[in-house]
């Protein structure tokens, strides 16, 4: 029962982080801030959701497989974000510095 409640909390929190990440990816002003929001989905949300599922699976082989998936995600997602940001810089899109007003002035 306690395990069910904890896993429920983890899954809901994970869902919330996916939602926030999605919202950020839509609403943030430029590529880098959007990536920052989206990376929430594949790090924090992934940890929480897979943690919740692991609690549901209990001490079985499934949990070990889930742990392997989590490890894989934690290694590859930041690498993908890094590659994306680096590709953006190489193609000439530099992060904007300065105040937030810059965005409003442009619009």
């Amino acid at each position: 029962m306690a395990i069910d409640i904890i896993s429920w909390i983890l899954l809901s929190l994970g869902g919330a982080f996916v939602f926030i990440g999605g919202l950020g990816a839509l609403r943030m002003p430029n590529l880098y801030t959007r990536m920052h929001a989206a990376s929430l989905t594949d790090t924090m949300a992934a940890v929480l959701i897979i943690g919740g599922i692991m609690l549901q699976a209990g001490a079985t082989l499934v949990t070990i497989k889930l742990a392997a998936i989590l490890l894989f995600l934690l290694i590859t997602s930041p690498t993908a974000s890094n590659a994306l940001a680096s590709a953006a810089i190489l193609s000439g899109l530099h992060p904007e510095e300065g105040k937030i007003d810059a965005r409003e002035q442009r619009e």
Binding site: I75, T79, N82
Partner: protein, 328 residues
């Protein structure tokens, strides 16, 4: 609940398809096609077709995206001007849609146990698999043994496709022998770029291990030669992207790849012929060992190995053919 997921995924599929048609950037279209395949894989999984889902994810979302990107690198990223015959296109699409919708009226209800497809040979396969072949994954039993001829045909389709691509794409490189000079090597990959290189090098052995697991675990769970071939090819392609294509070609030269392409299909055929020589029919695995069930296991492992080898070889040949075109 499952029906809700299904509707959600199918809606996303339609949205993705519309986005693919709409976008003018071919690069975006390729990425969207990858997303489409991934959604399709999830959809297959919902329908309990785990083997098909694995294939779709590995080939549709993985390898074909890389091949499309390779093709884009040779052409351009923008779509050329729209064709003027849009009315004709609209007419064709409308008529086709109406025909498809009309055809669905005759379709049995989703999951209907009385549907003809579930009444024909399916029950017999499911009933006889534990008795005749004795492996848990009845998909592999059907694919490898009961319908071994069909799978042999599929392997030769893959083989033929690989030969065709090699003929079409390597035609010009033969005419220009100086491009084969290994010292002038433009494909350096991502050597200068540390983070993906370190992580990629870390992952490649595990990707290989997973490919071998999928290959040899196909009797017991989702997987088999087609999926494993795609995964192992993906590992080599990752290596080529990180270290440069030349380095990958040094590890697995084109001659070896051609042997893989032919050898896998040959292994499959040889298992069939071995059955004939031992007194059975073509692709009859019962005679491969003294115990018919052990013979079935040996036969299925061998033909799956043949499938995996051919698929790996063909996918890598196609990749290298695209990559070599870029150098010209």
């Amino acid at each position: 609940m499952i029906i809700l997921f299904g509707v959600f995924l199918l809606t996303l599929l339609v949205i993705t398809a519309l986005a693919i048609v709409q976008t003018e950037s071919l690069f975006a279209a390729v990425i969207l096609t990858g997303i489409f395949s991934l959604l399709m894989a999830a959809n297959f999984f919902l329908l309990d077709a785990a083997d098909v889902a694995l294939t779709e994810a590995a080939i549709g979302a993985g390898i074909s995206t890389v091949l499309f990107l390779g093709a884009l690198a040779l052409t351009g990223e923008r779509e050329r001007g729209k064709s003027t015959n849009r009315l004709i296109a609209l007419g064709v699409v409308t008529v086709t849609t109406l025909i498809v919708i009309y055809a669905t009226f005759d379709k049995p209800r989703h999951g209907d146990a009385e549907a003809p497809v579930h009444q024909h040979v399916g029950p017999w396969y499911l009933e006889k698999t534990p008795e005749l072949i004795d492996i848990p994954n009845s998909v592999t039993a059907v694919l490898g043994s009961f319908r071994g001829y069909d799978t042999l045909g599929e392997v030769f389709v893959v083989f033929t496709a690989g030969i065709g691509v090699l003929f079409l794409l390597s035609a010009r490189s033969a005419a220009r022998p100086e491009s084969a000079n290994p010292s002038a090597e433009p494909g350096q990959g991502l050597r200068h770029y540390l983070v993906p290189r370190v992580v990629g090098r870390l992952l490649i052995p595990f990707v290989f291990l997973f490919g071998l697991y999928v290959q040899f675990h196909g009797d017991y769970g989702p997987g088999g030669g087609f999926q494993a071939g795609a995964i192992i090819a993906a590992a080599v392609i990752l290596y080529a992207l990180l270290e440069g294509e030349g380095q990958a070609l040094r590890a697995l030269p084109m001659d070896v790849l051609k042997w893989l392409v032919a050898g896998g299909a040959l292994l499959y055929g040889a298992v069939g012929v071995a059955g004939m020589l031992l007194g059975g029919n073509f692709l009859d695995y019962n005679v491969l060992a003294s115990d018919p069930i052990a013979g079935q296991h040996i036969g299925i492992i061998l033909i799956e190995l043949g499938v995996g080898i051919t698929v790996t070889g063909v996918l890598l040949c196609v990749f290298h053919a695209f990559a070599a075109r870029g150098k010209l």
